[in-house]
């Protein structure tokens, strides 16, 4: 059973977290009855805050749960997360400043706002909004799985641990819903800093203390299985395409776009993006925990008490608990817990913006400003609880697989958004067909790769070796979007010359 010191420190820090969340309302005050004030922090966040806010999108349960869990179970393949984050910032540096500039000029809040304006197509804009909302949902669910993992480890051995865990999650979400309702993005940005301070302290302590106590990294790699030292030759195409596909997808997620648009100036956006690879150092340390844990007998013994499939998600919290002092574990575990909570808030806000502005407002164009903000706040609350209900009803391992599917879906809006920003040759109808074809082929390949059973793999076996499905489906989408646009363009020219 875990010492009550852990829980005491955890709860005290959580109270500080709540205080910060509500205080956000008064911080850099603006009229929160305006959508851009509530959801973009008044577009006034400087280099440091955007750094933390977009960092909050990266340092999510994806880094605490999905990646270490993958390294623990499958080895080096899951270290792709490190080059992926490096590449994603190159993509962002090139693609996003233009979106920021146009949004400031024309008042866009979502990617769908831009697409509607650029291609004068309601259909395409609505489809992009729906894709965003759907792809974001499993991402929120993953955050909750991470929070659940912390509670599972912390409460192990206590009576009614599962029930207490679920009630605690529910309480945490009610509090989160209350402060995002009143503070908007400001609350999220402020709590993001708090969370990042705790997480950075944790990863630095772990990377120094654990290797010393186990006698060097070498021992961990000896204790782990064979394919942990380097990447097996046959997985190189998988590794490279996972990097590419994930890097292209990250900045298309609605919550990442929220982070970008909240920057105060385009130059501040560039600087914070340039510095963001430093965040990846923490991610690398967390990923290594998936190997380090093999050399910590206490943690391995604890993990062996759980079914094999669900051990991975518990790796980080149990490694912390069994290698660091109790009071410190309390700090670290809270860092991970709110590390799921803060991104969940930002993601639900981004979904709510899409639903209100790009779906409801399309159907009911005479929506007043007041109703718009009210519906946005309310739906952000609803989305959080939908994700919570999802986690309570399906096994945790499922949430991780669905998040992989989310990446395959969201990358399909790339032609309309990134190429829409930077090229002139695309037309709306080929983009619509390409989007549908990309999504349909992506889902079909995922089903084939998993033999129509439970989703565990997002790699498709080809003649070149296993390839990340998102990349193949995107290639199909791009071919249709550009090919179709070129045909339409040629036809238009022919008609013109015919008339002459």
């Amino acid at each position: 059973m875990i010492s009550s010191d852990v829980i005491l420190v955890f709860v005290s820090l959580f109270i500080v977290f709540i205080g910060l969340g509500f205080y956000g309302k008064y911080w850099r005050k603006g009229d929160l009855n305006h959508v851009h004030e509530w959801s973009l922090g008044g577009r006034r966040l400087g280099t440091t805050l955007v750094f933390f806010l977009i960092g909050a999108d990266l340092y999510t349960a994806y880094s605490f749960v999905a990646i270490p869990s993958g390294v623990f179970a499958k080895g080096s393949l899951y270290f792709f997360a490190i080059p992926y984050v490096m590449l994603t910032f190159a993509v962002a540096l090139v693609a996003m400043p233009k979106l920021w500039t146009l949004s400031r000029e024309k008042g866009y809040i979502t990617a769908s706002d831009f697409v509607k304006d650029r291609f004068s197509s309601r259909t395409l804009a609505i489809m992009i909004a729906i894709t965003g909302i759907v792809a974001e949902l499993p991402y929120i669910a993953l955050q909750i799985v991470g929070m659940q993992a912390v509670l599972t480890v912390m409460l192990a051995g206590y009576a009614n641990a599962q029930m207490v865990g679920e009630i605690s999650l529910l309480i945490a979400f009610v509090i989160l819903a209350a402060f995002t309702y009143s503070s908007g993005l400001r609350g999220a940005a402020l709590t993001a800093i708090f969370k990042d301070v705790l997480v950075w302290i944790t990863v630095i302590v772990v990377i120094i203390a654990v290797p010393i106590s186990i006698g060097g990294f070498g021992n961990a790699f000896k204790a782990a299985k064979e394919n942990y030292v380097t990447l097996p030759e046959n997985l190189v195409p998988a590794y490279a395409t996972l990097i590419l596909g994930s890097a292209l997808a990250l900045y298309l997620y609605p919550h990442a776009i929220t982070g970008v648009l909240s920057a105060q100036s385009v130059q501040k956006l560039r600087y914070s993006t340039a510095l963001l690879p430093l965040y990846g150092v923490g991610l690398a340390i967390l990923a290594l925990m998936g190997v380090l844990v093999y050399a910590v007998p206490g943690a391995m013994n604890f993990l062996s008490g759980f079914p094999e499939g669900s051990r991975g998600i518990l790796v980080v919290p149990s490694l912390i608990l069994y290698s660091l002092p109790a009071w410190f574990s309390g700090i670290a575990l809270l860092g991970i817990f709110v590390g799921g909570l803060v991104p969940a808030a930002i993601m639900a806000m981004a979904q709510a913006n899409l639903l209100t502005r790009n779906i409801i407002k399309e159907i009911k164009p005479d929506l007043s400003n007041n109703s718009e903000i009210r519906i946005t706040k309310m739906s952000s609350t609803v989305f959080k609880f939908v994700a919570l209900a999802f986690v309570f009803s399906v096994p945790a391992t499922y949430a991780i697989s669905l998040q992989l599917l989310g990446g395959i879906l969201i990358v399909q809006i790339l032609p309309a958004v990134f190429f829409g920003l930077h090229t002139k040759s695309l037309r709306k109808n080929p983009l619509i067909v390409g989007l549908v074809a990309g999504i349909a082929s992506g889902i079909y390949m995922v089903e084939m790769a998993n033999s129509f059973g439970p989703l565990t793999s997002s790699l498709f076996k080809t003649a070149f070796g296993p390839i990340y499905i998102a990349v193949i489906a995107l290639a199909i989408n791009l071919a249709i979007s550009f090919g179709g646009s070129a045909v339409l363009h040629r036809r238009a020219i022919k008609n013109q010359t015919g008339q002459l």
Binding site: F79, I82, M86, T230, A240, I243, Y271, A274, P277, L278
Partner: protein
């Protein structure tokens, strides 16, 4: 700096790190080790700092252009 040279430099500042990141065989080896960490792991972690340098130079150069 001449403007066309500037564009080439800007492109390289983004393309060089990307080429290394996607060129998996470049870093897929076990030695030399660092503190018992295989090359594969420490190189990619180290490369994060190098990327930050490339990207920061990119941001700086774009700013001077404007």
């Amino acid at each position: 700096m001449h403007s066309s040279i500037k564009y080439v430099v800007l492109a390289l500042l983004v393309l060089i790190p990307s080429f290394v990141n996607l060129g998996v065989p470049i870093y897929n080896r076990d030695s030399p080790e660092l503190f018992g960490l295989p090359f594969f792991y420490w190189f990619q972690t180290f490369w994060l700092f190098a990327c930050t340098g490339f990207y920061f130079a990119y941001a700086k150069l774009v700013e001077n252009k404007a």
